[in-house]
């Protein structure tokens, strides 16, 4: 499964990515997870199965949802509690639910 995360610059979300990767590894799942800035989504969405937005770019949801629909990629905003606690396992779970993968 390929999980694309979006935030303003891609930095804070990178830490979340490493936690998600760790959680995926622990579960023996071979996922590709990466974070990009809002402006670069266009160049990355084709490689993604699901797209998750950081709360700081929530306002881009209508625009990115439209893009996701045209590419067949489900889009959602990361739960704020999970984001605020940098909970990789939970965000991974919601990505799987969003992409109907478990």
């Amino acid at each position: 499964m390929n999980i694309l995360l979006v935030c303003a610059a891609g930095m804070s979300t990178s830490l979340l990515v490493s936690k998600m990767e760790k959680s995926a590894q622990e579960q023996g799942k071979d996922y590709t997870i990466w974070a990009v800035s809002g402006d670069s989504v266009q160049n990355h969405i084709d490689k993604a199965d699901v797209l998750l937005l950081g709360p700081q770019v929530r306002y881009m949801l209508p625009q990115l949802k439209k893009l996701g629909e045209s590419k067949g990629v489900p889009v959602d905003v990361i739960n704020t509690v999970h984001y605020g606690t940098c909970n990789g396992a939970e965000v991974l779970k919601s990505a799987e639910q969003l992409g109907h993968v478990s």
């Binding site: 930095m11 804070s12 700081q56 770019v57 306002y59 704020t80 984001y83």
Partner: protein
């Protein structure tokens, strides 16, 4: 960096980020002519920023009390988020006012 500090930093990023998003949504609401929603979103932004600010104040008070905060790049990034969000919120308030004025003037000229 310890786990507790990482949590605090993420709270600043989260609430700063929420504030920024709400401020941007407020502008979008004003643009579509929904002044009431715009005001509500702006209020949400202010509340989120005050939460982020609360964490920052805690760190500053700790430092004043002799408990130094380790400066990591992530912390700098959190500050960057917060400051940017505050600017966006202030500018959003101005832009919303402009949209309201435009709407008023259009109404008067019809």
């Amino acid at each position: 960096m310890n786990e507790e500090m990482e949590q605090i930093i993420f709270q600043i990023i989260l609430h700063g980020g929420n504030g920024r998003s709400s401020a941007m949504e407020a502008i979008a609401a004003a643009k579509s002519g929904d002044a009431e929603e715009a005001r509500k979103k702006l209020q949400d932004a202010a509340e989120e920023l005050s939460k982020a600010h609360h964490y920052q104040t805690e760190l500053i008070q700790n430092e004043a009390g002799g408990e130094k905060t380790e400066m990591t790049l992530l912390m700098v990034h959190a500050q960057d988020h917060l400051m940017n969000a505050m600017t966006v919120k202030d500018m959003a308030a101005e832009i919303i006012e402009l949209y309201e004025k435009i709407t008023e003037q259009r109404g008067a000229s019809i």
